[in-house]
C-alpha cells in the first residue's frame, strides 16, 4: 500500500463498508453532525479547547512504557505498553467523549445519550456531561449491568441516568438498539455520543479522529526512545476504537505489522464468541455495512466474550475494510487466554489491565515470542482492570 490512505469518502464509505443506513428521522441529525464536525476541524478555538481539556483534564499525553518483565517473560521482541489506562476515568474512551461533548455543546444540544458495554464509555460520557453541564442518559444491557456494578455506580454518581436494557442478550448490541431508538425519539435536542468506530457516517470517522491521538503520541514517543518506527502494533477490538486510534497514524507505514485482536470467547470452533471477522460476513447493522455475526437469514447473532467491552457482534466499517485489503492482521484470543494475560500483567508489571486489553496482551506475548530481541511491539493498554476484579473473583473463586 504505497498510495495515500484517505478514507472514508464523502458519503462515509470505506470501500464497500460504512455508509449511513439509518431511519430517515435521523438523517437530518447525521448530516448536521457532519457539517458541524467539519467546521470544528477548521476552528482553531475548538481545537485549542479540545487540546486544553485533553492535557489538563484527561491527563494526556499518556506514557509509552517499556514492560521489561513482560518482555523477559515472552523471551523475544521488546513489548511497549501505550498506557491509555492512565487517562482520567481509566480508559481510552474519554478521548472521544471529550471531543463529542464539545461538538454537542457547539450544536446547542444540551442532552446526550450513549450506549455502554463494559461501562467505560458510559463513565467517560457521564464524566464529560458533568463537566460541561449536559443531561446524560446511558443505555446498558442488563447482563452488563450485572457484571459491571462498579461502573454503574460511577455513572450514577456523575449524575447520569442509567437505563437497563432487557432485550436480546442484554449486552452491548441491545444497548445500541435502545440508544438509537431513544435518539430517534429525542433527536431535536439530543446528541448521541457513540462510543466506538461504528454506526452511521460520520461517527466512524469522528471517533477515529478523536482516538487517533493514541497513535500520534505513540509514533512520536517511540521515535524519541528508539529513533525509528515500531515493528508491530497490537490492540484489542470490540467495535474497534482503541485499535483504530493506535493503528490509523501508521496505516501508510507499511514496515509496521498491525494486529487487531478479536474476542474468541469460548473458542472459534464454538458458537460462543465475538469474532466478527473470523466468523461473520458483511451486512448492515446500527447504521453501517460491516462484518457481522449473523445466521443465513441475516438475523444478527448474540456475541459472547468474558469482556463486556468486546461483546459485540460487529466490527467497525474501517476495520472491515482494512481486513479485506489485508493491511491489518486480525487474530482472536479466548476468554481463558485473556484471563491468563490479566493475571500475568498484574503479577509481572504491577498493572491490572482491563479484560478487553488483556486480549491484546495475550496475543502480544505470543507474537513477541516469535520475534527477535531486536524487534519492538507496541500494545495499546486501552483500560485499567479495576472494573473486572469482581468478574475475575467469581471466575477463579479468588486467587487462593
Amino acid at each position: 500500500m504505497n498510495q495515500t490512505y484517505r478514507l472514508p469518502d464523502e458519503k462515509g464509505h470505506f470501500g464497500a463498508y460504512g455508509g449511513r443506513f439509518v431511519p430517515e428521522t435521523l438523517m437530518k441529525a447525521v448530516l448536521e453532525l457532519e457539517q458541524e464536525y467539519n467546521r470544528a476541524l477548521a476552528d482553531q478555538e475548538f481545537q485549542a479547547e479540545l487540546e486544553k481539556l485533553m492535557k489538563d483534564y484527561v491527563g494526556r499525553e499518556t506514557p509509552l512504557y517499556l514492560a521489561e518483565n513482560l518482555t523477559e517473560h515472552a523471551g523475544g521482541a521488546k513489548i511497549y505498553l501505550k498506557r491509555e489506562d492512565l487517562n482520567h476515568t481509566g480508559a481510552h474512551k474519554i478521548n472521544n467523549t471529550v471531543g463529542q461533548a464539545l461538538l454537542a455543546a457547539r450544536m446547542g444540544k444540551r442532552k446526550v445519550v450513549a450506549e455502554t458495554g463494559a461501562g467505560q464509555h458510559g463513565v467517560a460520557t457521564a464524566t464529560v456531561c458533568a463537566l460541561l453541564n449536559l443531561e446524560c442518559v446511558i443505555f446498558m444491557g442488563k447482563e452488563d449491568i450485572r457484571r459491571q456494578q462498579l461502573n454503574v455506580f460511577r455513572m450514577k454518581l456523575l449524575g447520569a441516568e442509567v437505563i437497563s436494557v432487557d432485550a436480546g442478550s442484554g449486552t452491548l448490541k441491545d444497548a445500541v438498539n435502545e440508544a438509537l431508538r431513544y435518539w430517534v425519539t429525542n433527536v431535536r435536542d439530543t446528541h448521541y455520543i457513540l462510543g466506538s468506530v461504528m454506526g452511521p457516517h460520520p461517527f466512524p470517522k469522528i471517533v477515529r479522529d478523536f482516538q487517533s491521538v493514541i497513535g500520534k503520541e505513540t509514533k512520536r514517543q517511540f521515535f524519541d526512545k528508539e529513533g525509528k518506527l515500531p515493528d508491530a502494533l497490537v490492540a484489542c477490538i470490540g467495535g474497534g476504537s482503541n485499535s483504530i486510534g493506535l493503528f490509523h497514524p501508521f496505516i501508510e507505514d507499511t514496515s509496521v505489522e498491525i494486529y487487531g485482536v478479536e474476542a474468541a470467547g469460548l473458542g472459534l470452533e464454538t458458537e460462543k464468541n465475538a469474532a466478527s471477522l473470523a466468523k461473520g460476513k458483511p451486512g448492515v447493522l446500527h447504521g453501517a455495512m460491516m462484518y457481522l455475526l449473523q445466521d443465513e437469514a441475516g438475523q444478527i447473532q448474540e456475541a459472547h466474550s468474558i469482556s463486556a467491552g468486546l461483546d459485540y457482534p460487529g466490527i467497525g466499517p474501517e476495520h472491515s475494510y482494512l481486513h479485506d485489503i489485508q493491511r491489518v492482521n486480525y487474530k482472536a484470543v479466548t476468554d481463558d487466554e485473556a484471563l491468563e494475560a490479566f493475571q500475568l500483567l498484574s503479577k509481572l508489571e504491577g498493572i491490572i489491565p482491563a479484560l478487553e486489553s488483556a486480549h491484546a496482551i495475550a496475543y502480544a506475548v505470543k507474537l513477541a515470542a516469535g520475534m527477535g530481541r531486536d524487534k519492538n511491539i507496541v500494545v495499546c493498554l486501552s483500560g485499567r482492570g479495576d472494573k473486572d476484579v469482581q468478574t475475575i473473583m467469581d471466575r477463579t473463586g479468588g486467587l487462593g
Binding site: 458519503k11 443506513f21 430517515e24 437530518k28 431508538r181 451486512g283 447493522l285 437469514a297
Partner: protein, 254 residues
C-alpha cells in the same frame, strides 16, 4: 401502485410469522375482505431500531417460529392469485443483503410483491439496491418524517414511486394517543410537494385518528394496533378499524 380513484386508503401492517407462518394467508385474505387498500407485510429482524415494543415483540415471536424472508416469499407465491390488492414488504436491509439483492428482487417480484419499505435505507444509500428493484418492477416506498427539511422532502418526492410514507412522529412505531400540532402542517406540506399519494403512518391506532388524519393526506398505515389485535384474537375489532375508512370515503362522496 395503489389505485385510489379519489378514495382514501387504509393500509394495515402485519408481522409475517407472528402466530405461525400458516396464519399469514388467512390474515392477508381477511384484511383484503375488510377493505384494506394494500397490505404491508413485516419481515422479522433481530434488531429493529425503528420499531417500538409492540412490533419488537411480534418480531421476536415470529423469529421463534423460525420465520425467514425466504419462507414468506415462498408462502405468498403459492396463493398470490387470491390476492388482488398490492402487497408491500417492510423489511430492514440486512435480511435482504443476506438473501442476495438480485435474487431477492427476482423472488419478491415472482411472489407478486409490489414494493418494499426499507426503514434503514435513506436516500443517500438507495442506489445500493435500486437497480435490482427497478429491473424487477418493484417500487421502493420512501419515507419522509417530521424532521425532514423541505428541500430534502422535495428531493425524496421527486424520486417517489408507489406512494410516500409520511412518518407522523419523531420517533419509533407504536400506538399513541396524541399527535403534535405540527402534524397537520407537515402532512399538508408533504402533500403539496408530492405527485404520488401520501400515506401517514406511525402511532395511528384508532378510528377517530384515521378520520382526522385522512383529512390531510391520502390514507393511513396502521401497524402496532393491527399486530396487537391479531395477537389478541380480536378480529372483529380489526374489521371495525379497517372499516373506518369506508366512513371517511362515504363522507367524501356526500
Amino acid at each position: 401502485m395503489i389505485d385510489l380513484k379519489g378514495n382514501k386508503a387504509f393500509v394495515p401492517y402485519i408481522m409475517a410469522g407472528d402466530g405461525g407462518m400458516e396464519t399469514l394467508k388467512e390474515k392477508l385474505l381477511y384484511l383484503q375482505e375488510c377493505g384494506a387498500a394494500a397490505i404491508e407485510i413485516g419481515i422479522p429482524f433481530s434488531d429493529p431500531v425503528a420499531d417500538g415494543p409492540t412490533i419488537q415483540k411480534a418480531g421476536i415471536r415470529a423469529l421463534k417460529e423460525g420465520t425467514t424472508l425466504k419462507m414468506v416469499l415462498n408462502d405468498i407465491r403459492a396463493y398470490k392469485e387470491e390476492i388482488s390488492i398490492p402487497l408491500i414488504l417492510m423489511t430492514y436491509l440486512n435480511p435482504i443483503v443476506a438473501y442476495g439483492l438480485e435474487k431477492f428482487a427476482e423472488d419478491a417480484s415472482e411472489a407478486g410483491i409490489s414494493g418494499c419499505i426499507i426503514p434503514d435505507l435513506p436516500l443517500e444509500e438507495e442506489d445500493f439496491i435500486l437497480p435490482m428493484l427497478d429491473r424487477n418492477e418493484l417500487s421502493l416506498i420512501r419515507l419522509v418524517t417530521i424532521t425532514t427539511p423541505d428541500q430534502r422532502i422535495r428531493e425524496i418526492a421527486s424520486r417517489a414511486t408507489g406512494f410516500i410514507y409520511a412518518v407522523t412522529v419523531a420517533g419509533i412505531t407504536g400506538a399513541r394517543n396524541d399527535f403534535s400540532e405540527e402534524l397537520t402542517d407537515f402532512l399538508q406540506n408533504v402533500k403539496s410537494l408530492s405527485t404520488v399519494p401520501v400515506m401517514a403512518g406511525f402511532g395511528i391506532s384508532s378510528a377517530e385518528q384515521v378520520v382526522e388524519i385522512c383529512k390531510y393526506c391520502d390514507g393511513v398505515i396502521v401497524g402496532s394496533k393491527i399486530v396487537d389485535l391479531f395477537h389478541q384474537g380480536e378480529k372483529e375489532e380489526i374489521k371495525r378499524l379497517v372499516g373506518s375508512i369506508k366512513g371517511v370515503n362515504q363522507n367524501i362522496l356526500a
